[in-house]
């Protein structure tokens, strides 16, 4: 499968948008403009973008407490994401969701599920609706390495497997569940080893190489679309920042962090394609400027947007 230059550049721009979105959010948070807490994903762009670029318009993704890059990569306009982080009425959840619940089902992403592993059964169920309604779509279910130890992981993947549901389980293994190293809480070497227990394919790949992720996801998605059932994809990646805003990350060695910085997915992409000629310094600058402008407009939109009324907290509990 040869990727067109346009597709490669689209993936690159999406990764840059993810990274710069997170950096902008971090800065806004430090300025005290965003309430609550945030869980960021700098360094994990290749997995978010590689997976989402492999999807079709009416496919669905489910996400986690670390959802910003998934939402950006899925193509939800950043102004609605930013407005949600600013707790504004114009946010993608009207200010009722916040950082940990961003998403918009109409745009292919369920509100993010911030209970670790909680979204996995929902993804399987959504896939059941696709299968039952004979739609050609699939669900991409994001979760972290930590979620692979919780019961809902087992229950949902087992059900998806026995019914051949059109879902791809995407484990972003960033090596830590908060501060706990995954190899201390998992006896098998790889999360993908667990696929054998459900009789489905499991594969571990370099999650910091966007084209590798894209190709693996296309393959798993095609399999799911053909009615052959789910795949467990493990993407090895690393968050270059703390678990949440309050985490300086003392549980990770400087050497380890430095080693993973060398595998930064955006830097790797640039190094490869500056050599091959797809990218030039000028083009990189142009892309970054356009992303910066998009983000500045998003922040301006969010800041100018009205806050919800206090008593609006009383609506949207029930449909009727």
């Amino acid at each position: 499968m040869n990727l067109t230059p346009e597709k490669k550049l689209a993936m690159y721009r999406s990764m840059v948008l993810c990274r710069m979105f997170e950096e902008q959010v971090n800065s806004l948070f430090l300025q005290g403009k965003l309430p609550g807490t945030i869980h960021q994903a700098q360094g994990q762009e290749a997995s978010a973008v590689g997976v989402c670029q492999a999807l079709e318009e009416h496919d669905m993704i489910t996400s986690t407490h670390r959802p910003h890059e998934h939402a950006v990569a899925r193509g939800i306009p950043v102004k609605y994401l930013m407005a949600e982080l600013f707790a504004k009425k114009t946010g993608c959840c009207g200010g009722k969701g916040g950082s940990m619940h961003i998403g918009d089902a109409a745009l292919g992403m369920l509100p993010a599920i911030a209970i670790v592993g909680g979204g996995i059964p929902l993804a399987a169920g959504y896939a059941l609706s696709f299968q039952y309604l004979k739609k050609p779509n699939i669900v991409a279910c994001f979760f972290g390495d930590g979620a692979s130890n919780i019961g809902s992981f087992h229950e949902a993947i087992n059900m998806a497997a026995i019914w051949d549901l059109p879902v791809v389980f995407v484990c972003e293994n960033n090596k830590y569940g908060a501060s706990t190293a995954i190899d201390q809480v998992m006896k098998v070497k790889r999360v993908s080893d667990r696929a054998a227990a459900y009789g489905i394919p499991g594969q571990t790949i370099d999650g910091n190489e966007v084209e590798i992720v894209y190709r693996a996801m296309r393959e798993a998605a095609a399999r799911a679309r053909e009615g052959k059932g789910p795949t467990l994809l493990e993407l090895e990646t690393y968050r270059l920042v703390g678990h949440s805003r309050s985490d300086p990350g003392h549980y990770r060695s400087k050497e380890e962090v430095a080693e993973w910085k060398k595998r930064d997915p955006i830097a790797r992409f640039e190094a490869t394609y500056l050599t091959e000629g797809l990218l030039t310094d000028d083009l990189i600058r142009t892309i970054r400027l356009s992303v910066e402008q998009e983000l500045n407009e998003a922040v301006a939109f969010a800041e100018a947007s009205p806050a919800p009324l206090p008593e609006e907290c009383l609506t949207d509990v029930f449909n009727e």
Binding site: M60, G91, C92, C93, G94, G95, K96, G97, H101, G103, D104, A105, A106, L110, P111, I113, I115, G118, I120, P121, L122, A123, A124, G125, Y126, A127, L128, S129, F130, Y132, L133, G151, S152, E155, A156, N158, M159, I162, T315, D316, V317, F318, N319, E320
Partner: protein, 351 residues
């Protein structure tokens, strides 16, 4: 929803005498015929040669609708609740069930954190048309197949809670639950099922109800005054409606005319019917099978005290189970579950 406005609660007349199980089965069957999006998910519900779920409610439905609509699951309560919720988000109208309500604790994250909150978290963009059926009630099975769980779910904003006492209400409420775009926890009492044959429930009471041939729906949030009286208001749900009615008969023999209200749904709760009754009688006794502390009766007592204090002529009394797990020995279980005698005593103490 416009269809809700068309709902008519018909009088019970010219119907057939059927059991609660048969009424529930008819509700499922009619809604599945009416709407292709209605599917069933549960353990042992459609197995050929099986028993149609723990209490035979789904018997025969797989034969009519196929195994793609009557879906047998692994033993996987969190998975059932989560997959059903996801399918509801995707446009289906799943009716999931657990064999015993006690197993809902295994599904609590999916029900309380996801099904109940996704509409809210999405800013009102999502709908979760899910029904989760659950049998409750103490039936000499010991502590883990016996609990009354209504209060747990009544406490979670975003969940509706139904608890019918008879076949007519069960059918009409279940049909409504399936058509609602909100998640509903639908409680059924094991002693009211009227299951026959090998699934017959020891100690079950014969609750045949008159159910009309024609289709009908019962809206949520409308309690039913099942007996009129001036002396005291008894409010109850599920099996306790029958105990309260028997108590009312016994009290009438002593010249005390009790009004009995069947709440039918706890969320939404029909406060106006209750307050109107208490305003008239001036006395309230709440009867529930749940443990006393934090039971739904506590909420009813607090709200009634707040709203009807000027009408109350006596303290509000609660007849509930003690704060213990459900015991096994029948002699202890009979002590544990509120009896007709306890209800009568609670009322006469107020007179």
């Amino acid at each position: 929803m416009s269809s809700m406005n068309e709902m008519v609660s018909r009088p019970e007349k010219e119907g057939r005498k059927i059991t609660l199980v048969e009424a529930l089965r008819e509700a499922l069957q009619e809604e599945m015929r009416r709407d292709e999006r209605v599917i069933l998910l549960g353990e042992d519900i459609g197995v050929s040669g099986g028993f149609g779920g723990a209490f035979t409610v789904t018997l025969g439905l797989a034969e009519e609708f196929g195994h793609h609509r009557v879906i047998d699951t692994p033993i996987t309560e969190a998975g059932i609740a989560g997959v059903a919720t996801g399918a509801a988000l995707g446009g289906l109208r799943p009716v999931a069930d657990v064999q015993y309500g006690d197993f809902l604790f295994l599904a609590m994250d999916q029900l309380a954190n996801h099904a109940a909150k996704l509409r809210y978290m999405s800013g009102g963009k999502l709908r979760v048309p899910l029904v989760m059926r659950a049998p409750v009630g103490a039936t000499t099975r010991g502590a883990q197949h016996a609990q009354s769980l209504e209060a747990f779910f009544m406490h979670v904003p975003g969940l509706k809670v139904a608890c019918p006492s008879n076949p007519y209400d069960a059918k009409g409420l279940l049909k409504t639950a399936i058509r609602l775009d909100d998640p509903v926890i639908f409680f059924e009492h094991k002693l009211l099922y009227g299951s026959k044959g090998s699934r017959k429930e020891a100690g079950g009471i014969e609750v045949f109800g008159t159910v009309p041939q024609e289709e009908y729906l019962i809206p949520f949030g409308e309690a039913k005054v099942v007996r009129s009286g001036q002396a005291v208001t008894l409010v109850a749900n599920l099996l306790m409606v029958h105990r309260a009615m028997q108590a009312a008969k016994n009290l009438a023999a002593a010249g005390i005319e009790a009004e009995v209200i069947d709440v039918r749904t706890l969320v939404p709760f029909d406060w106006s019917t209750l307050f109107e009754s208490v305003s008239k009688t001036g006395k309230l006794v709440i009867v529930e099978e749940d443990n006393l502390t934090g039971g739904w009766g506590a909420e009813v007592a607090a709200r009634t005290a707040d709203r009807c204090i000027g009408y109350l002529q006596a303290p509000i009394r609660r007849v509930a189970a003690p704060d213990t797990p459900v015991p096994f020995a029948p002699i202890m279980e009979n002590f544990y579950v509120p009896s007709v005698e306890r209800i009568v005593t609670a009322v006469t103490d107020l007179m």
